[in-house]
Assembly symmetry: C2
């Protein structure tokens, strides 16, 4: 029999926490049969849990954490000063194998930073990155980085591509993911120097690399994995969300303008609901944090209970895909490639005294 | 009586040239009463013109240019080697005041480069930039740069903001445009060093500067003018187009899936058409080239006759708004600001021997 997975949840993270998190967790526990640990302040958490009378029979426990990370907190402070926060404590559960995966809708910078310092990086990875999973006409595409690293070196982009490619294979079940670099055109003459260098790295890699892709290619199904720096990826992600929301509002406006349109809307309602479901962020659960030693899902700050439930499903799938193990293999194959142009990174230099202290 | 404006058109530019350009020009001439000069090879142009029997009565003339700029041509080669191309010749008409505006759906890099070397920059502007006009829930927003400058200095971003702000006022009739810098978050702690420095420049400017904005803000009507480097702006533009197209295709798919939805679609058809019109690039005509000494509209490479017609309308409006004149005023007001952190640019160094030669 397969072992029942245990998932730690940052119960204090996100705009609608802790209520939406508790509600989503109870639903996920019922539907997916995963064991859950709600990490956060025990008083509000047990109060919200009690609102679900049947929850006492479910495998949900509470791990107390006295501090809360705010959205505006400096990510590094979570590791340095808020060691009893829900994010820090939950990450410790994952690091000490007391949980199999971790989900947070909280301060994503703090999750990245706790992942980096508590969970640690996978060997061969310089920078953890956040990968957005985007709905496309053909299925799903992964884009990384979308927020952890504003400025990147060519080998960072190559590492993002390798990580996403593995996640795409084992987590999204895409057989031979087509990998592209996000650029301002498809021609080899386009792009910045960093991007051109990343292009030559990936041309020589073991990946199914297809070259430069444009913003639109992510959505029409032309590519499965897109590497970019976190600044550009974040613009792409927010633009896509913004356009989809604005088009939705405008369509609603047009459809409620005249009687004929209103009648039409009633007939086609199911089509709109199906479309909404295909393109709704809440259905996707969240973004995997790539490059750390364990499965972490960062979900949207605006997550409602449905989004939390789906994030828990994603965390379960991520844990059972054993993607971290598979990743090490792909990194080893492309090892020589990734050392091109590399100097010790700032993160390496920051981590080395901490690691020395921990080892002594 | 107002003087009739004369618009030069790159009749060889764009995927559907010259036919779509000639067809669009004939329609525009009928509808807007502007005088038009089709610049390109005289043989195909007169053949396509003859297909419109009434065109002989319209104020459309042909200016012969023997060379054609291809989409893959190096932009600088147009200025150096293809002096008898439609782009170069049309830009000369504008520079010598034989035309009041210029429209091209051709190689946009070549148009920028011809603008820079033939038409010349406005005093105080270092880099011409391409401004996309985006449909929003509230009207229209301008985003620049979207393709002329991959990497920018803080004062370039500030110049883009000033230029767009003036274009927004006089061309799009927005009274007091809210100006933002595109960033990966709204907090002051976000962004790259370049963006943070541009932020402090604009905080001290005469503009209605509202701070950092995200990709989604462009579309929900929270901002009227967005400054960014050309790489990021291009990703934003292509992402927006891609999401809109993919959502359109997905909606069509859903609406034609069942009988009820199909019936609904028939009732709501007018709503969809109205939505499509609001968000269709062909309705907007094109992107103004900012920072050169004359009104230039760069329209989409995929322009059909409707897009060409609307681009001609945009060029007419741009010429009559006298925006280039107004721009000089705003640049003078913010002159001290724009000299902060400035060294002679590469373009300046490239231009100086050419200008010396021209002046001697």
């Amino acid at each position: 029999m397969k072992k029942r997975l245990k998932i730690a949840i940052d119960a204090m993270g996100g705009d609608n926490a802790p209520q939406a998190v508790v509600d989503g967790a109870v639903e996920a526990c019922r539907e997916y049969g995963t064991e859950l640990v709600l990490v956060g302040h025990k008083d509000p958490l047990s109060a919200y849990l009690k609102r679900h009378p049947s929850s006492s029979y479910l495998p949900i426990s509470i791990k107390h954490a006295s501090e809360v990370v705010k959205m505006e907190d400096n990510p590094l402070d979570v590791v340095r000063k808020k060691k009893d926060s829900s994010i820090h404590r939950a990450m410790e559960l994952l690091a000490t194998k007391k949980a199999d995966a971790f989900v947070s809708a909280g301060n994503s910078g703090a999750v990245v930073s706790a992942g980096l310092f508590v969970l640690k990086r996978i060997k061969g990875i310089d920078r953890p990155s956040i990968a957005a999973i985007m709905p496309t006409l053909a299925g799903k595409a992964m884009v990384a980085d979308v927020g952890a690293n504003n400025i990147c070196k060519p080998y960072h982009l190559a590492q993002f591509a390798i990580m996403c490619s593995v996640y795409s294979r084992y987590f999204l079940h895409c057989k031979n993911p087509r990998v592209g670099i996000l650029c301002n055109g498809e021609e080899e003459t386009k792009g910045t120097d960093t991007i051109k260098q990343a292009h030559s790295l990936l041309k020589n890699s073991s990946l199914n690399y297809i070259g430069f892709v444009e913003g639109g290619d992510v959505f029409n199904g032309n590519v499965d994995v897109v590497a970019c720096d976190g600044f550009t990826g974040n613009v792409l992600l927010k633009t896509a969300e913004g356009v989809a929301e604005s088009l939705g509002s405008a369509l609603k406006e047009e459809l409620t303008r005249g009687l004929l349109s209103k009648i039409g809307y009633l007939f086609s309602r199911r089509a709109f609901e199906s479309l909404k479901k295909r393109f709704d962020y809440a259905e996707y659960g969240g973004a995997p944090l790539l490059g750390v030693n364990g499965p972490v899902i960062i979900s949207h700050g605006r997550s409602n209970a449905l989004a939390v439930k789906n994030a828990i499903r994603a965390a379960r799938d991520l844990a059972s895909s054993e993607v971290v193990h598979h990743l090490q293999n792909d990194l080893d194959v492309n090892k020589d490639l990734l050392s091109i142009g590399k100097k010790p990174s700032i993160i390496d230099r920051m981590l080395s005294p901490i690691q020395k202290k921990q080892n002594s």
